[in-house]
């Protein structure tokens, strides 16, 4: 079916909150009603019709064209359907998403996929800090679903992650998987210092190693585990490179012994 297309006319003067533009909140609305939705984040009112050219279509499939980093909260709270963004997005893309698919063809800002519980987010270029992570004061980050980043990501990928899978094909910043509770992080290229900082449980795979591994992670030797084969098959649907990385023998480190110590970091033996 033809998607609903929103074409950004020009870079907006203020940051915009695009959280109302998700399939389940647009269901049953006509073009005029969608055009009247307020998106401003300052006291100056801005509606959809003010900044976007609107081409009506199936609201379950939304396409945002000419996007830029001033568009925040794209796909926030999305529960079903599909959003494709041609361009970059600002902060909190796909935050608290519970289902559906969000595809960002450009870069994403910080807190992309923050505290998602389901669905799939694919970012074709890079993501900012706190990918999948919670806001300050929230106790749990990502709780389900899949986040795939083709480029790199900033610091603290998967902070306080509880469940779900994050795959980052490019390099990542420091403290990847910080305070992880459970879940799976697959980071194909070299990460910054101290991955798994204070992680309790969960799995981090570092295809390209890290700048520095905390001494609170204990070497458990090189293994080729069946569980990683299952993980390889699962992530293979999203990233063939990640699938290949998980098929190789990997060195297992148990930690973070500074806390519970039941997490694990797998490091490529060739990295």
């Amino acid at each position: 079916m033809t998607p609903l297309v929103l074409s950004l006319r020009r870079r907006p003067d203020q940051r915009l909150d695009l959280s109302p533009l998700v399939p389940h909140r647009l269901a049953g609305k006509n073009a005029a009603e969608i055009g009247a939705i307020a998106l401003q984040t300052t006291r100056t009112p801005v509606t959809v019709a003010d900044v976007f050219g609107l081409r009506m279509g199936d609201v379950a499939h939304i396409r945002i064209e000419g996007a830029c980093d001033r568009l925040d909260q794209v796909g926030q709270g999305m529960s079903d359907g599909e959003i494709t963004v041609d361009g970059d997005v600002g902060a909190q893309a796909g935050r608290q998403m519970s289902g559906g698919r969000l595809t960002i063809l450009g870069h994403a800002g910080p807190w992309a996929g923050s505290a998602v519980t389901g669905g799939t987010i694919e970012i074709q270029r890079s993501a900012g800090d706190f990918l999948g992570g919670p806001f300050a004061g929230e106790t749990v980050g990502m709780r389900g679903g899949v986040i795939l980043v083709r480029g790199g990501a900033g610091d603290r990928v998967g902070d306080r992650m509880r469940r779900g899978t994050i795959v980052v094909e490019g390099p990542c910043g420091a403290y990847a998987g910080s305070r992880m509770i459970a879940g799976t992080l697959v980071l194909l290229r070299r990460t910054g210092a101290l991955p798994g900082y204070l992680m309790k449980r969960g799995t981090i795979v570092l295809g390209g190693g890290s700048e520095a591994l905390s001494p609170t992670f204990m070497d458990c030797g090189i293994h080729q585990l069946i569980a990683l084969r299952l993980l390889s098959d699962f992530v293979g649907a999203y990233s063939r490179r990640a699938a290949a990385c998980l098929r190789a023998p990997l060195r297992r480190y148990a930690g973070d012994m500074a806390v519970l110590g039941k997490g694990e970091i797998f490091v490529g033996t060739r990295g």
Partner: protein
């Protein structure tokens, strides 16, 4: 009973009487087919009859690398019991004692169903706190550290309440050798039918039973009417030319699977012919009043 005859084999105009059961299926994998089979054989040992073993179990079929969740050789195993609670108990005990312990094994759900039985969710405590839960999409696995690495086990497996147990064929031949050859031939044909197992040794039972006994407290005793050595002493069901009888008992995930298995067995017996194999084929029943499923031999003939 008016006997039919197909290619010289007399077919009793009777039926197998079968019962509703609870069943589940597992996929057991290992580093190679030998060890997958070993785990499955061990797990399905001493599971010939619910009366004495708690469940009836057997190997449904061997699986290629492409058919298993972890890409290793595997075996699909079926378990049948009379109640969900007994099936859960048997599943847990058998996987815990026979699959978990087998080198390189992993264990997955072999059946999708609305109802579920606890598999890894029950066995995870063996990990003593080091067990790891892994959710990948809609699948949930437990990883238990063991001495050769990890035992991976899916959290639950499906349960079906539409299973049928007690499909059977009574194979009668002139000699013990001919009867055994006929039964082996039928069992080999039935083994190829999906979703059905034959729980007795090699798929064949030689000690068919009747309900009750002259002894107090004994639930079942030898089927004297089909014992050739008692032909002159009891009200026998055997003709003069029959020197041995063997039985194949069949459990299936559905009534259709049991019917398909009996059909395959009958076809194989007919193909073998009366000169080398069976001279008469019958089926066991209790008059039709106990079991809701009746599989008439007449309807299943090739």
């Amino acid at each position: 009973m008016r006997p039919l005859a197909v290619k010289g084999i007399r077919i009793d105009d009777t039926f197998a009487e079968a019962f509703g059961m609870r069943a589940t299926a597992l996929v057991i994998t290992a580093d190679n087919a030998r060890w997958a089979r070993q785990a499955a054989v061990t797990m399905t040992g001493f599971a010939t009859s619910v009366i004495g073993c708690g469940c009836e179990a057997g190997i449904d079929r061997e699986l290629s690398r492409k058919e298993t969740p972890d890409g290793r050789p595997g075996v699909r195993v079926l378990l049948f019991a009379v109640s969900t609670s007994e099936l859960q108990k048997q599943l847990q005990a058998r996987v815990g004692q026979c699959v978990l312990t087998s080198p390189g094994s992993a264990c997955y759900a072999g059946l999708a169903g609305e109802d579920a039985l606890r598999l890894g969710n029950a066995l995870r405590y063996f990990g003593d706190g080091w067990q790891i839960s892994k959710r990948l999409g809609d699948k949930h696995y437990w990883r238990l550290p063991v001495m050769d690495g990890e035992f991976v086990c899916e959290g639950t497996t499906g349960l079906t309440k539409a299973a049928v147990g007690g499909g059977n064929l009574l194979i009668m031949g002139r000699t013990a050798d001919a009867t055994r050859l006929a039964a082996e031939t039928a069992a080999a044909a039935i083994a190829a039918v999906p979703d059905a197992i034959m729980p007795f040794p090699g798929g064949i039972a030689r000690s068919g039973s009747k309900v009750g006994s002259k002894y107090k407290g004994v639930m079942a005793s030898t089927n004297d009417a089909y014992c050739p050595t008692l032909r002159g002493a009891v009200k026998t069901g055997l003709d003069d030319d029959i020197g041995a009888v063997l039985e194949i008992v069949i459990d299936g995930l559905t009534a259709d699977a049991v019917a398909a298995a009996m059909r395959a067995g009958l076809a194989a017996l007919v193909r073998l012919g009366s000169k080398r194999g069976a001279v008469r084929i019958g089926a066991g029943n209790y008059g039709g009043k106990l079991g809701p499923h009746h599989f008439h031999l007449r309807d299943l003939l090739p």
